[in-house]
């Protein structure tokens, strides 16, 4: 039985909304992803007040996941950064308000069965994102550039 199938059952039994299912698929334990199109779809949902909260709720859960699910955390960070740059202004506010969640990931460690530290990637991503969130000028500039790229 594939993991994707189990996930689709969990989505139903846990009563996740369609937007939350999108986030869960984008940040799954699959080795690849999240793809840009997946992230773009999630970010388009952050412009709606209700859906925004659903998205952030799920991103929050994924960011706080345990070490074994380090892929959840890594992918959630990727998605989160994308949302901060491309999503609605609310994403930026939420990120600044909850900065401690990302900040504390800067020392994330997880040693897997092969004695490999899978936390390195997360530590780098968290450091990057923290410095971006603390630098208003750069953040605004990057958001402007992202807007141009998306053709708005």
């Amino acid at each position: 039985m594939s993991k994707a199938f189990v996930r689709s059952i969990k989505n139903v039994t846990n009563g996740y909304s369609s937007v939350q299912v999108l986030v869960r698929n984008a940040t799954s334990n699959e080795p690849s992803g999240p793809s840009v199109s997946e992230m773009a779809e999630v970010s388009s949902h952050t412009f709606d007040q209700g859906e925004f909260l659903e998205v952030m709720d799920m991103v929050d859960k994924r960011l706080n996941d345990k070490g074994k699910n380090w892929r959840h955390v890594a992918k959630a960070l990727t998605l989160f950064e994308y949302l901060v740059l491309n999503g609605s202004d609310r994403c930026v506010h939420w990120a600044k308000h909850n900065l401690y969640i990302v900040k504390t990931l800067r020392e994330f460690t997880f040693i897997d069965d092969h004695d490999k530290d899978q936390g390195a990637l997360i530590r780098v991503k968290a450091k990057e994102l923290t410095s971006l969130l603390l630098n208003d000028e750069r953040l605004m500039e990057e958001r402007r550039l992202a807007k141009e790229r998306n053709g708005h």
Binding site: D60, K61, N64, D65, K66, G67, N98, Y100, I101, K103, T104, L105, E107, F108, T109, D117, A120, R123, K127
Partner: protein, 272 residues
């Protein structure tokens, strides 16, 4: 996986202070930090800590100190003020490991307790600083507008930096080759962050003061101490970068070999 209740918090603290001779697990330390931000209070953290039996084991006590230090640094600001109210209890932790202890934690525990108490005292006297002394412009502006206060703040920071230096030397002296030294080495992680924060703060405050006041002689003693601290800090970071465990976990700051010019403008000064 945010914690839901104080019972969860107690579990996290207990797991962070287990009796394995390793670093406190980041996962549990992080849970404590996130809890203080989620509920915007530090009181439950200290309250829960007191309920957990750690006094019977020197490793647990030492891990407790590392955990506390981390939460003081990264947690909600109220952890610092409620920590100040629990000074007596923290002090009592310094007395539980007699002499050197069985695994040589006695002295470093004692020194660590002393350091945390000094840190709490410092924050009490200078409430403008956050736990990791991250640079906040307004503090240095306020300090410059009142040179006496600025002078005192820098003196206090310099003393705190001296204590960090003593503590790190003691830790390095007690670290052996074995794998179990990870527990002692992990105490260096918050010390690296803190010493660098203090260093940057002293540097920018001293620069600002050199700009605003004309009496260079008056600042001479501060300058001298800063220059000697710079050299010691340079060595400290060099020692740290030789430890693989530390290197992979945190970015160890690299200071220039020569102390920076305090009279230079902040803008043209070489970046840190």
């Amino acid at each position: 996986m945010s914690l839901k209740s104080e019972t969860d918090l107690q579990v996290a603290i207990r797991k962070a202070c287990s009796n394995d001779e390793t670093a406190p697990k980041r996962k549990h330390v992080r849970s404590c930090i996130v809890y203080t931000w989620d509920y915007k209070t530090g009181a439950p953290f200290w309250k829960s800590f007191k309920l957990i039996p750690i006094q019977n084991n020197e490793i647990k006590v030492f891990k407790a100190l590392i955990t506390m230090h981390k939460v003081l640094q990264e947690g909600h600001p109220s952890v610092i003020s409620s920590g100040y109210r629990n000074r007596d209890w923290i002090e009592s932790l310094g007395r539980v490991t007699p002499g050197e202890g069985f695994k040589n934690y006695g002295r470093i525990t004692n020194e660590y307790v002393g350091y945390i108490l000094r840190k709490l005292n410092f924050h009490y006297r200078h409430p403008g600083f956050n736990g990791t002394f991250e640079y906040e412009e307004y503090v240095s502006l306020r300090v410059v507008s009142d040179p006496n206060e600025g002078y005192n703040a820098i003196l206090d920071l310099l003393s705190l930096q001296d204590y960090i230096d003593d503590l790190q030397r003691l830790i390095f002296a007690s670290v052996g080759e074995s794998r179990s030294s990870e527990c002692k080495v992990s105490a260096l992680v918050p010390l690296i962050a803190e010493s660098y924060g203090i260093y940057k703060f002293i540097l920018s405050m001293l620069r600002a003061m050199h700009h605003s006041s004309d009496s260079e002689e008056l600042l001479e003693p501060l300058r001298e101490r800063f220059v000697s601290q710079h050299a010691r800090l340079y060595d400290f970071y060099a020692d740290c970068s030789s430890i693989r465990y530390l290197n992979s976990l945190v970015t160890i700051p690299k200071l220039p070999f020569d102390p920076p010019d305090l009279l230079a403008d902040d803008a043209d000064a070489p970046p840190l």
